[in-house]
C-alpha cells in the first residue's frame, strides 16, 4: 500500500487549560474531498492551523506526501502544495483585488509552476476569472461584498496551484444562490484542468462547513470533531446516522 497523501497521527494542542485538539489521527487520499464538521469550538479551525503551520502542535505528527511538516514555516508548507482560506476573510483591503491574488502568484511554488507565464498579472486574472470576480479586478478589496470576499479567498488559494486545498467555511455568509455557485466552483476545481494560465491539479480538499446540506453534496468523506476529539469518520450517510453525532451536533432533526 502506498503512503497516504495527508497523514495526521496523535495530534494534540492545548491552549492553557483547554485542549483544542485531542489525539486526532486520520489520513486522506489524493483524490478525496473531506468534510470537517462539528459544533463551534470543536477544534476544526485549530486543526487547519496546525496543518498549515500557523500553530505548532504540542505533540503528534503531520505528514504531507510523506514529509513531516511540523516545524516548517507556514510559507514552506504552502510551497509544498497546501493552500487554505480563512473563515474570517483576510483580504489586503487597501490593495486592488488583482494585487491580492498576485501576492499568491509571486510565491516560489506558483512562480516555478508558471515559469512560462510572462506576466503574473495575467495568471492572477485567470484565478479571478475562475472565481468569477475578474470584472472587479481593479477595485479595492475593501469594496467587495461578503460573497465576493469568499471568492477572492478561493482565487488567492488556487493561485498557488495547490495539491491540498483547505477551505474554512466557504459557504459562510453566502446566499443560497451564491452557495450553489461556490459549490459548483469547488467541484469544478476538484476535477482539475487548465483555467487559462492556471493549472488545477484537481486538489484534494478539506472543507470545514456548517451548511451540511450543501457540504454533503460535495464531499465523499466526513470527519466530525467534538471537544477536539474525532467522534465519527465515514461517508456522509454513515455520519448523519451516527448516534453520537446526532446527540452532540446534528440534533434529532438531522441536517
Amino acid at each position: 500500500m502506498g503512503q497516504a497523501f495527508l497523514e495526521i497521527d496523535g495530534l494534540f494542542k492545548d491552549f492553557g487549560g483547554l485542549r483544542a485538539v485531542d489525539n486526532v489521527s486520520f489520513s486522506m487520499n489524493r483524490d478525496q474531498i473531506l468534510g470537517l464538521i462539528g459544533p463551534n469550538g470543536a477544534g476544526k479551525t485549530t486543526l487547519v492551523r496546525l496543518i498549515t503551520g500557523i500553530l505548532r502542535p504540542d505533540s503528534g505528527s503531520i505528514r504531507f506526501k510523506g514529509k513531516n511538516v511540523i516545524g516548517l514555516k507556514t510559507w514552506d508548507i504552502i510551497n509544498l502544495g497546501i493552500a487554505c482560506t480563512f473563515q474570517n476573510m483576510r483580504p489586503f483591503r487597501r490593495l486592488p483585488i488583482i494585487a491580492n491574488v498576485m501576492v499568491s502568484c509571486l510565491c516560489p511554488r506558483a512562480m516555478k509552476r508558471g515559469e512560462w507565464v510572462k506576466r503574473v498579472e495575467a495568471k492572477a486574472l485567470d484565478a479571478l476569472e475562475f472565481a468569477g470576480i475578474s470584472d472587479m479586478s481593479l477595485e479595492k478589496a475593501s469594496t467587495l461584498s461578503q460573497g465576493d470576499l469568499k471568492r477572492l479567498e478561493v482565487a488567492r488559494a488556487i493561485a498557488t496551484e495547490p495539491e491540498l486545498l483547505i477551505l474554512d467555511e466557504p459557504f459562510g455568509g453566502l446566499s443560497p444562490a451564491e452557495t450553489d455557485l461556490m459549490a459548483k466552483s469547488i467541484k469544478r476545481l476538484h476535477k482539475g484542468g487548465r483555467f487559462g494560465r492556471l493549472h488545477s491539479e484537481g486538489p484534494a480538499m478539506i472543507i470545514i462547513e456548517h451548511k451540511l446540506q450543501q457540504l454533503m453534496k460535495i464531499v465523499d468523506r466526513i470527519i466530525v470533531l467534538n471537544y477536539g476529539i474525532i467522534i465519527a469518520d465515514g461517508t456522509p450517510e454513515e455520519v448523519v446516522n451516527d448516534k453520537e453525532v446526532v446527540e452532540s451536533y446534528l440534533g434529532e432533526g438531522g441536517i
Partner: protein, 346 residues
C-alpha cells in the same frame, strides 16, 4: 539628423502622452527641472546649502516611508540608519582616507547591517511594540558613541572630514541628482512586485504567509533597503557638514522624519520628499522669528494634519485629479470623461 528627428519626435510623443496628461506628473517634471537648472538662475550659497540639506533629508524621509509606510514596520528609530551611515562614512574617511564616493556607499552598507541588526530581533514584533523597540536602538548606539570617545569623538563627534566636492555647486548637483535618482529607485521598488508584497505585509502578515511568501525575507529586505538609503543620506550629511556627531542619532531626528512623512502623506514616497521640501525651508524661514519658530512650525503641521489627515500631497493630488471609476486611471479633475476608457467621471 533624420534619426535624431525620429527620436526627438518619439520623446515628445512620450512626453505628451505620459507627462502632460496629469497635473501631478507635470509638477514632478517641473520639480526635476527646477532643481536641475536652479543654479543657472542663482548660485546663492545659503540657498544652495538649504537645498542640499533638504535633498539629503528627503532621501531619509523617503527611506522611512519605504519601511514604515509601505511595509508597515513602524520605525521610531530611523536616526539609527542615518547615524550609522554618517559615522561609518566619517570614520572610513578620517582613518582609512577613503574618499566620499567610496565612504558614502560603504556607510549605506553599514546601515544595511544595522537594518538587519534591528530587523532580526524585531521580526516577531508589531505595531506599538515594534515602534518602541526600534526607538531604543539609536539611543543604545548613542550610548556606545559616548562610551568610546577615542574612536567616535564622544560628544564632539568625528570632524575634519573631506568635503563632498570642491565647490558648493558640485555639492548641490551631487546631492540633488542622488536624491532624485534614489527617490525614483525607491518609488520603482514600491511600484514593483516586491512593492506589492511590502504592501500586503502591511495589510495582513498572516495572509501573506499563507500565500506562500517568506515574510521574514521580505521584512528584512525592507529593513535593509530602507537602511541603505538612509545610510547614504547619513554619509552625504557627514561629508557635507564635515562632521558626524551624536545629533545624527538623536530621538528628535527620528521623530522629525516621522513628522515629515506623515505631513507629506505616507505610502507615497513622493509625499515625504515633498514634505521635506516644504517644511525644511519653512523652518529656516521661521528663523526671522526665533522665539516663535518651533511654535509656528507646530501650528502649521497641526493645521495641515487636522484638515488633511492623509497628508498634504495626497490631498492636493485628489483635488486636482480624479480616478476613473471603471479603469482606475487618474484624470485631470476638470475632465468629464476618462482619458483612456471614456467612462463618465462624475
Amino acid at each position: 539628423m533624420g534619426i535624431l528627428g525620429v527620436y526627438l519626435r518619439k520623446i515628445y510623443t512620450l512626453f505628451r502622452g505620459e507627462v502632460l496628461v496629469l497635473p501631478s506628473r507635470i509638477v514632478v517634471f517641473l520639480f526635476f527641472l527646477v532643481l536641475l537648472f536652479l543654479p543657472v538662475v542663482t548660485q546663492d550659497l545659503y540657498l544652495l546649502r538649504i537645498l542640499i540639506l533638504t535633498s539629503i533629508f528627503a532621501i531619509l524621509a523617503a527611506s522611512w516611508d519605504l519601511l514604515s509606510g509601505y511595509t508597515g514596520q513602524m520605525n521610531f528609530g530611523h536616526a539609527l540608519f542615518f547615524g550609522v551611515g554618517a559615522y561609518t562614512a566619517a570614520l572610513l574617511n578620517l582613518h582609512a582616507h577613503i574618499p566620499p564616493y567610496g565612504s558614502i556607499p560603504l556607510g549605506g552598507l553599514a546601515a544595511v547591517l544595522a537594518g538587519l541588526v534591528i530587523g532580526i530581533p524585531c521580526l516577531r514584533l508589531r505595531g506599538t511594540y515594534l515602534a518602541l523597540t526600534t526607538l531604543a536602538f539609536p539611543i543604545i548606539l548613542m550610548g556606545i558613541v559616548f562610551a568610546i570617545p577615542g574612536i567616535t569623538g564622544g560628544e564632539l563627534g568625528v570632524s575634519g572630514l573631506s568635503r563632498l566636492s570642491s565647490s558648493r555647486l558640485y555639492d548641490y548637483y551631487i546631492t540633488v541628482v542622488l536624491m532624485l535618482g534614489l527617490c525614483t529607485i525607491m518609488w520603482k521598488i514600491t511600484d514593483s512586485k516586491t512593492g506589492i508584497i511590502f504592501h500586503a505585509i502591511r495589510e495582513d502578515e498572516l495572509a501573506v504567509r499563507t500565500s506562500g511568501i517568506n515574510v521574514t525575507r521580505y521584512k528584512l529586505l525592507a529593513f535593509s533597503l530602507s537602511g541603505f538609503f538612509a545610510g547614504i543620506s547619513g554619509g552625504l550629511y557627514a561629508h557635507f557638514m564635515r562632521i558626524a556627531g551624536p545629533s545624527t542619532l538623536e530621538v528628535s531626528m527620528s521623530f522629525t522624519v516621522v513628522i515629515w512623512a506623515v505631513f507629506g502623506g505616507i505610502v507615497t514616497i513622493y509625499g515625504p520628499v515633498g514634505a521635506v521640501f516644504i517644511l525644511f525651508p519653512l523652518l529656516e524661514f521661521f528663523r526671522f522669528w526665533p522665539e516663535f519658530r518651533m511654535l509656528l512650525f507646530a501650528v502649521v503641521i497641526l493645521l495641515i494634519l487636522l484638515y488633511m489627515p492623509n497628508g498634504i500631497l495626497p490631498w492636493v493630488r485628489d483635488k486636482i485629479e480624479k480616478e476613473c471609476p471603471r479603469c482606475k486611471v487618474r484624470n485631470v479633475a476638470t475632465r468629464k470623461t476618462c482619458r483612456v476608457c471614456v467612462a463618465p467621471l462624475d
